[in-house]
Amino acid sequence: MDLRDGFGSWPVLRQLTGKDRYGRAAAVQSGHSEQVEARTASADRVVKSVCPYCAVGCAQNVYVRDEKVVQIEGDPDSPVSRGRLCPKGAASLQLTTGQSRLHKVLYRPPHGSDWQELDLETAMHMIADRVIATRRETWEWESDGKRTARTMGIASLGGATLDNEENYLIKKLLTALGVVQIENQARVCHSSTVVGLGTSFGRGGATTFMQDMQHSDCIVIEGSNFAEAHPVGFQWVMEAKARGATVIHVDPRFTRTSAMADLYVPIRAGTDVAFLGGIVNHVLRNDLYFREYVLNYTNAADIVNDGYRDTEDLDGLFSGFNADTRHYDFDTWQVEGMSVPAASGRRENPAFQELTKNGASIRAACRSEMHGSGGVSLEGEPRRDETLTDPRCVLQILKRHFSRYTPEMVKRVCGISPDLFAEVCRHLTENSGPERTAEFVYAVGWTQHTEGSQFIRTAAILQLLLGNIGRPGGGIQALRGHSSIQGSSDIPTLFNLLPGYIPMPHAHQHESMDDFLRADAGYRGGWSNMRAYLVSLLKAWWGPEARPDNDFRFGWLPRLTGSHSTYDTVRLQLEGACKGYFLLGENPAVGSANGKTQRTAMANLDWLVVRDFNLIESATWWKDGPEIQTGELRTEDIATEVFFLPAAAHTEKSGAFTNTNRMLQWHHRAVEPAGDARSDMWFMYHLGRIIREKLAGSTDEMDAPVLKLTWDYPTEGSDAEPIAEMILAEINGWNAAGEPLSSYTELKADGSTACGCWIYCGVYADGVNQAARRKPADEQDWIAAEWGWAWPANRRVLYNRASARPDGRPWSERKKLVWWDEKERRWTGYDVPDFIATTPPDYRPAEGATGDASLSGIDPFIMQADGKGWLFTPAGVIDGPLPTFYEPQDSPVVNALYGRQRNPARVLYPGEHNRNHPSGNEPGASVFPYVLTTYRLTEHFTSGAMSRTVPYLSELQPELFCEVSPELAAERGLEHGGWATIITARSAIESRVMVTQRMVPLQLDGQVVHQVGVPFHWGSNGLTTGDAANDLASIVLDPNSHIQEVKAMTADIRPGRRPRGPALLDLVREYQERAGITENTGMEV
């Protein structure tokens, strides 16, 4: 060894003997590090991309060398994420290139005990054969004498982690095959958002966007652990705070979000309607509402039908309730002068009433979600009282309805002290008005309840009263948790919707297109052009086959006959009627409520196709699932054929994710996937191609829709990947000259335009992929309109006409956003005006006007039939026109507000493995004395399929735990770091115990309520394993959206590990017996 070289390379010596005495430059670099080169430095290219985890939509740079992804970093140009990635996003290199991914097709034959390898081509043909056979076997032309043209034998689940283009092909192909049971994570995560926001404002997406949060003067985060579940988005809360905003966190747990808040408000899980209702009451009682805004921009002045009876009159029920069907009739909820056209002419028809069980089958079909982009269709002109004093006007009804939601009641129900409650009210009201705005932020802490839609409705009412919608720093921010869960709602892999929130036709109501449009299309507002949207969709799907003389092949759409949500599918699987199942990036064995029901239903299938990165629990339950352990299922008895097809990562395919704020961002294919891994775009396209080849020449009427489907997408690459830009162009639409359309206003009902999703029309304007635009944030204003593209029409703050006074001037200079330019005679501003650009503020429509002309210059909610924000929903929300507090299905507390304990319209699924608990003071309720809530961690992702297999993330959060207060720990003898068993009537799980003061026992009305928090990410597979918290949940649903209640349950907790094998069943059975649980428990109306 040359000593001079050796010592010479010693950094300290170099530092002391060279010019860099302070060691601030190259002197301190060691010989080793001098040789090391950053992976980014030697990359061949840097491909622009988007993080595949949550829906904040953080931009990524994907570094590629020698056709391999070598590094993934945040893209600092993004106006949303500004270069930041959370632990999950930062680990996406390991997600996409790590050893946990499988690249080989696997096959489990009926009754087989292990996997076999299968080549991809063979697997595709086998799957195609099974689709064809099952479809033939289960085809149904009619139901109850009405044409359905469908199969209930096949179902699909998944899409929220996939690109819009993939969702589009899934929906298009499966619909053409007659499959109606098409669902994704949006059902179980945010379907109630669509209902709550859509019926209130006319669109079911967040009303604002991430960066606008910086302009807020007060941010209330409730039902969300924003800082941990959407960490990168949380920077905008911190920006607001730095500018002086007050941040309030309302949550059952003290979290990192609480730590950054100015005010933390602990609340009993599931009682948010009582809390928010209390604020509504405070605002109304003290005349703190924004009168000019409320009078002009909401339906506060509308006079409600004199037959309307409130929950005040009927002890927790509204008028119109039918206890037999558990459904409401909307008749008495109408406002005078307006009515729901769907009802006209039908009520008098006894056959229709019998067929639909008085309309129940139609309402059960989640019609409320069609308001994801378009309010309820109403005819007529509302009678209004501009003085807001008529006892039947909406404002007065609101006052009476919420009058019992006093601070004392909030204390009794939520466990929040009157002083703390008053502080929240003060901050919120002092920061609302012409000069100031407040914003609400929520996530699944609000959505996943039996009245989840009404949680969101309550916030919508409050924000309308305070004048906070459509204004900078205001609005309601819905935080979605999958990269394209918004996109999979917009281009819905959902049973009840067609692209752009056009409802799927119902067999009992929609025999022809005219019937369909008569029932659901609006006559006023933006929804009045539904015929053009629908015809353009049918032209995109069936091209030359869709003509006026055949109703544009409207008859080829399969029909609904009720609810066909993912939970209904499970029931059909248990009954044996649903035989084939596609799981496309979704893991219901862990992620859906009541895992046992999910798994036993899959054990009843003929065939199952699982497409994912690795062997998730939904792929292996037949071999090592909990029911195998308990002996309830035996592998050799299970006849289900299982195909596992490896999926491509986001770096291996092109496409767009739609983030939580309706913004589409394109990610490019950086490399081709290895082995058999393929995108879902590839899978659907080639599955369709093979099925069509096999059916070629068929004259069977049932095959025509799929054979005539436009299915000619060009491919590229060695793997024949469909070109995603072509699919995007179809989604965008074109005219007869072959020009991409620029806006949905160009769509025509005469068949001269084709468009796959009307709300996305414009994303390919001028032949440019607008979703791929990446003009750096530093080169734009804060709106950053040239980064990606947001629906509708690239508007970022929805309903922004409301940011100006009725006369068109901004409410204040400080809160200026969009205003009327008298000189130019058009609306202008920082954002794209969400209004008809040339309609002046003083425009008033002529009597009988329809469409856009029916909206006055003071109607900011342009998708609503009356142009107003709805404080009161005369139709559209099927469990009441106003939010009403009911206890969760399982609750340790008696409903202090009404005689009704639970939401009377909730959807129940009786079943041996889906028992409910007694509640309140019902006998046996004390067996399950604690409130249980579930939640997400920063380091894990939903069912864990994309995180428990990633070493970095598994190391960061290696084990399932539960959080309990020191008081509860003492009461039950739980030790910090020890084991606990948590038991419900469905199952029992074990976890480590975290005793923490972050969990606060709540003092209610003479009752102490303890809460237990459990993350829901664990399952039996992966690098870190544990019991699945969703096994504890029952399937009980919000009637509007069919979302399950998993954020507020009851349970018992005790020290020690759970029993193994059949003894686990004995434990659950013992608890059921002690609590006296039967099939009737908790089933009352």
Partner: protein
């Protein structure tokens, strides 16, 4: 290793970082780092004072270290493919007056 003063002098003379890199024989991102003390990949949040530093690029300095960005916004085959879709659709063309 070039000094900060050297790089800033070239900046003040109107040279961009690519030219400076060629002149000094170092990568452009390194020239930027020397001049500003800020990594060109923009991996940190800049304070107001940092944004005012001589030589700072207020937008997209990552170009200096990521010169081979791939972000196409058009696709050559789309127009022809749309036309191929329209060609057999007589009804669409007739309704549109084409």
């Amino acid at each position: 290793m070039p000094s900060k003063e050297q790089v800033l002098r070239l900046v003040s003379q109107g040279h961009d970082y690519d030219e400076i890199a060629t002149t000094l024989g170092i990568p452009p991102g390194q020239a930027y780092l020397i001049a500003t003390g800020i990594p060109a990949d923009n991996s940190g949040t800049l304070t107001h004072d940092e944004r005012a530093r001589p030589g700072i690029l207020l937008s997209h300095p990552q170009r200096l270290v990521n010169p081979r960005e791939v972000n196409p916004v058009t696709h050559g085959g789309v127009s022809a493919w749309i036309r191929s879709r329209i060609k057999p659709d007589k009804q669409l063309r007739a309704a549109g007056g084409n």
